[in-house]
Every structure is written in C-alpha cells, then in structure tokens.
C-alpha cells in the first residue's frame, strides 16, 4: 500500500519530467518497471547504445531497495538493448552496486536517482571488460539478486 502510493507519485513525476538520457519503457503496473538509459557524454564504450533496466519493487519499497538489473533484448528486435560492458555488471545483467544492496540503500532514493546513479557509473567507466569470474557467476548463479553476497571492494565508482 505504502509502496503503491509512493510509486504512483514517482510515476506521475517521471511522466511530467524525466532527466536527460532516461526514459520510461514500461510502467503499466506498480511491481515492475522498465527504464531505458543512455550514456550522454562521448564515452566510446557506450556510444549510441540504449540499455534497459528492470526494476522490481517489493511491497516494502522504498524502505527496502528495489531489485535492479539490466535486461537484454536481441539485436534483431526493433529496440535492441544489449547489456553494457562494465567491470561491475555481469553479462546476465546483474549489477554489483552497493546503492542497490540493503545496506547501501536509503529510502530517499527514487527510481530516477537510481537511474542517474547507474548512468553516471557507466559514464565514469573506462574499462571495456566484465567483472572477474563473470562466466562462472553467470553459469552457476541461481540465487535471487538480493541474496547474492556481493563484496563492494571498489570505491572508485
């Protein structure tokens, strides 16, 4: 109930105004939204690409963080959405960002602020690579995102 009210308010605000490079791709219910983000500067790794983020909200949002991950749409579709290359983004779209963990999350964050954080995380990146152990993680991970014990060792992001 709390979550729905807050989300509908956020949606209203986003429909009025979205930050540059962010757009709503799908928000027809209050449990899962999809947002498209673009990197605005001329970072060669992300030039000309659009990425899709999937937000899954629990009914305790915003007290609890939403689950956020990139999703991939095939290059052959009308709206190709790859998974961006980043040393903290696994190739299945899972993002290692302490902001999205329950310890790093703060209820004052919004969908908008999360999008902008991820946008700036991509903007600041200069390494065109996946996290170490990406293939193993992608092959063996069956846990839900919130249960993965990430270690946030890199403070430079």
């Amino acid at each position: 109930m709390f979550a729905n009210k807050r989300l509908s308010k956020e949606l209203l605000k986003l429909q009025e105004h979205v930050p540059p490079g962010v757009s709503i791709a799908k928000s027809d219910n209050l449990e899962e939204w999809q947002m498209d983000i673009k990197v605005l500067d001329d970072n060669p790794i992300y030039q000309g690409q659009t990425y899709r983020l999937k937000f899954t909200f629990s009914n305790k949002y915003p007290i609890e963080p939403p689950e956020v991950q990139f999703i991939e749409l095939p290059a052959t579709s009308d709206t190709p959405r790859p998974i961006p290359m980043h040393p903290h983004i696994y190739s299945n779209g899972i993002i290692c960002l302490d902001l999205l963990s329950s310890s790093g999350w703060s209820p004052v964050q919004t969908v908008e602020s999360v999008c902008m954080s991820i946008q700036s995380m991509l903007t600041a990146n200069s390494r065109n690579e996946r996290p170490p152990g990406d293939s193993d993680f992608v092959a063996y991970n069956r846990r839900r995102i919130r249960d993965i014990p990430f270690v946030y060792e890199d403070d430079n992001v």
């Binding site: 009210k5 007290i63 329950s102 703060s106």
Partner: protein, 448 residues
C-alpha cells in the same frame, strides 16, 4: 529523544486515523521541499534528525526498524547518512503550518463530496462536517450504514423499504424522495417540441434526438437563415446551395488566412527595408550638403540654392557619391591612425608599468641581499667568537712551544702586546694560524 524511545513511541501511536493523509488528492501543487523524501507526501507529523533533515514520523520509524542493526544506538540519516542518535520531535511550526495548509479534496469524493479543504482540516471535515461519510444506522438492529446527511433529526432508521405507488417498486426510504421526483420509471413528461410523452428519466437523451427540435442549417455560418425541424433538415441540406458550396468557402477561408499571414510577414519586411532606405537617404543628403557647400565656396559661393534645377541636383548627387568614397577612405585612414595612436599609448603605458615593476622587484631583491649580508655577517661574527677560545688556546700552546724552543719571534710579541685591546678577537691568533685558514682573508675584508 533517543532511538529506542522514539521507536517505542512510534509503536504506541499506531493511531487509527479516519483519513490517511498520504492517500489524499492534492488540489494544488506544493513546494517539493515540503515533501517527505521517503513517502513523497507533504510531511505528516514531521520529526527532525541532528543533521536537520526532516521526515514523517512514521516513515522515519519504518526506515529505522529496517536499516538499524539490532540495538545499535545510532542510525544513518536516510538523506545524508550522517549517524544520528537523537530524534527531535520539535520541528519549526512554520513547516507544520505550511504542510497543513495545502489544499486537498475530501477523500469521499467518490461518494459525492466535492469539498476542498486545507489538509489540516480534513480530519475534522470528514469526522464532523462531511455529509457523505457512512455512519451506522441509528437503529442498532438495522446494521446498515447510512450517509450522514441522510440521517433524520428524529434518529429514525431509513432503511426500511416502501413501495412506490406508481411503479410498484420497493424503494429504500432514504432514496425515496429522489425516486419520487426523478427516477421513477412511471414518471412522465411531455416534450415541448414534439408533444410526445416520455419517461422523465430519458428527457435529456430525448431532447438530443427529438425530430421536432428546431435547429439551424449547417451552413448557417455562410448565411443560410433556414431554421427547421430536425427531421426536415436532411432534405433541406440536400437542396440548400450554401451547404454544397460550403467546402469551397472553407478552402477559400484557409487560403485567405495563409495569405494574410504572408502579407503581415511581407509588411514587416517592407517596414525594415523602408527604414534602411530612409537611413541611406539621410546620409546621402548630409554628404550632398557638405560637398555642395564645399563646391560653392570654391566657385565663389555665388550660386543661389533656389536657382539650382533638377539636373543640377542629380550631378550634385554624383559628386556626392564620389566624394563619399574618398571621405569613407579618409575616415577609415583616420580611424586607423587613431587606433595606432591608441596602441602606441598602450605600449608606452605597458613599458612604464613593466619598468616600474622591475624597479620594485630590484629594490626588494636589493633589500633582501642587504638582509642576507647582515645575516652572514652576524653568523661570521658568531663563528669568530666561537673560534676565539680555540685560537687562543692554540696561540697559547704555540707560545709555550715557541718559548720552550726559545726563539720567540718579534711578530708574536707584537701581537701579544695588542691582545688586551678591544679587538681581542683574532689579533693574537692571526700570526700562527694564518697558513692553516685560507678563509681568513675574506673575514678580514668583511671586518673592514
């Protein structure tokens, strides 16, 4: 108040408020600073942390319970992550008033209440004044709810059914008045236009479709003044010449509009051109007058201005033109000269300034050097003073040595006589030690 107390208070105050202030429909937009960053609603019972961030009491309570590790004394502020240990319940009155002043709709809008009140009053509005709130029927055995405004002064139950005498339908007593006047299917009325009798409920729809309502021809805006019954209007429209010519009129109208637009545009441009032309003409006239004056003075100024004909004027114009170019070049030359002058001025200025700064620097450096010299001198003096006893000792030893050797030189004698003088420093030691200390000469120089 510290965190455990706050949480205890929060748990106690689970108030069953009539109205959920966060679900209200806000009529006007409100300042985003009045919005709780957690629930995105205007603050409800705001509380403040040490870092001056304000949240609703309930929002902060739920944030603390999930974020705080058990029994820890502090908790990071959701906005700035500053560790907070105390929560202040008193926030500025101003903030509370501003939040309570925001206009909201009565939550019973769906039931028919269209009241708009400040948020601070909504609780009492719903509780006391709103007529659309459902309250239990005064008759306790009834068990139904009734709208507050339908309550009878005599506290009677209005839920009993009574039969409408005309349509034989059972109507609840509270709805009976409405049914009796408007909704009963047996109520009939007569259409003023067609004279048929229809049920009152359908009167509105009937008026929209009644074939006997008189309405104007569609081409009325083009001048057709026919007003006839709706049933006949189709026949009229087939015959009316204005209807068939209508599309043509419309096309003409749009063309006229676009032409008017272009015309306005052209008029504006024309005005600009005319202005430019007037400017050119006035400058030309000025030149003509100047050159005319010059020419007359050369000739002798005998010619009368009145006597000059049209041809004269045109030749005047031509000369004006040629003189115009030369004048232009001259003025260009003049302005260039001026610029050069300015630049040379600036150069001399810069030069003077640079030399001034250099001089200043030099003075400073000289001063510094003097200072350094003085310092070196004093250091030297000190070294001298420190060396003195050693030299003395050395001299004494040397003296002993030489005396034992028995061949004391006359020079050492001389110096030893001058020893008690004020310049006791190096005098006696100079003799025997000189060959060992090459820096002595410099010392002597500075001493002088």
């Amino acid at each position: 108040m510290n965190i455990p107390d706050f949480l205890a208070l929060e748990a106690d105050s689970e108030s069953g408020d009539l109205v959920d202030l966060r679900a209200l429909d806000f009529v006007s937009s409100y300042d985003s600073h009045l919005m709780c960053p957690i629930c995105h609603c205007p603050f409800v019972q705001p509380v403040r942390l040490q870092c001056d961030h304000v949240f609703c009491r309930k929002c902060l309570g739920s944030a603390i319970t999930t974020v705080r590790s058990a029994d820890s004394e502090e908790f990071p502020c959701p906005s700035c992550r500053t560790p907070a240990t105390r929560i202040s319940m008193n926030v500025p009155r101003l903030l509370i008033n501003m939040c309570d002043e925001i206009q909201v709709r009565c939550p019973l809008l769906g039931d028919g209440c269209e009241e708009v009140v400040p948020r601070g009053h909504i609780q009492s509005h719903v509780e006391k004044y709103c007529g659309y709130r459902l309250v239990p029927c005064p008759d306790e055995s009834c068990g139904k709810n009734t709208r507050k405004k339908d309550l009878q002064p005599d506290q009677r139950c209005m839920h009993s059914y009574c039969r409408c005498g005309r349509c034989n339908e059972d109507i609840m007593e509270q709805d009976f008045a409405e049914h009796d006047k408007e909704l009963c299917p047996s109520l009939e009325t007569t259409c003023v236009d067609c004279g048929t009798t229809i049920p009152q409920r359908t009167l509105k729809q009937h008026i929209e479709t009644c074939p006997d309502v008189v309405s104007p021809c569609v081409a009325s805006k083009y001048g057709c003044q026919v007003k006839i019954r709706r049933a006949d209007i189709a026949i009229h429209e087939q015959q009316c010449p204005l209807v068939s010519i209508g599309p043509y009129f419309e096309a003409q109208n749009t063309r006229l509009d676009s032409l008017e637009l272009t015309m306005r545009h052209l008029q504006q441009r024309n005005e600009i051109f005319e202005d430019g032309l007037a400017n050119i003409r006035s400058t030309l006239r000025d030149f003509a007058r100047a050159s005319g004056n010059g020419g007359r003075s050369v000739i002798g100024g005998e010619r009368d201005q009145q006597a000059r004909g049209d041809a004269d004027e045109s030749s005047d114009l031509a000369t004006a033109f040629s003189s115009h170019t030369t004048q232009y070049l001259l003025s260009l030359h003049e302005s260039l000269r001026e610029e050069v002058n300015q630049i040379s001025h600036a150069l001399t200025d810069l030069d003077a300034r640079a030399s001034m700064t250099i001089m200043n620097e030099c003075l400073r450096i000289k001063e510094d050097m003097a200072h350094t010299n003085a310092a070196v001198n004093s250091v030297r003096m000190q070294v001298q003073w420190l060396m003195n006893p050693r030299l003395h000792n050395g001299a004494r030893a040397g003296g002993i040595r030489t005396s034992t050797a028995g061949n004391e030189s006359p020079r050492t004698q001389l110096t030893s006589t001058s020893a008690p003088g004020p310049s006791n420093a190096a005098g006696p030691s100079l003799g025997p030690l000189r060959p060992r200390r090459p820096s002595d000469s410099g010392r002597e120089g500075t001493k002088l």
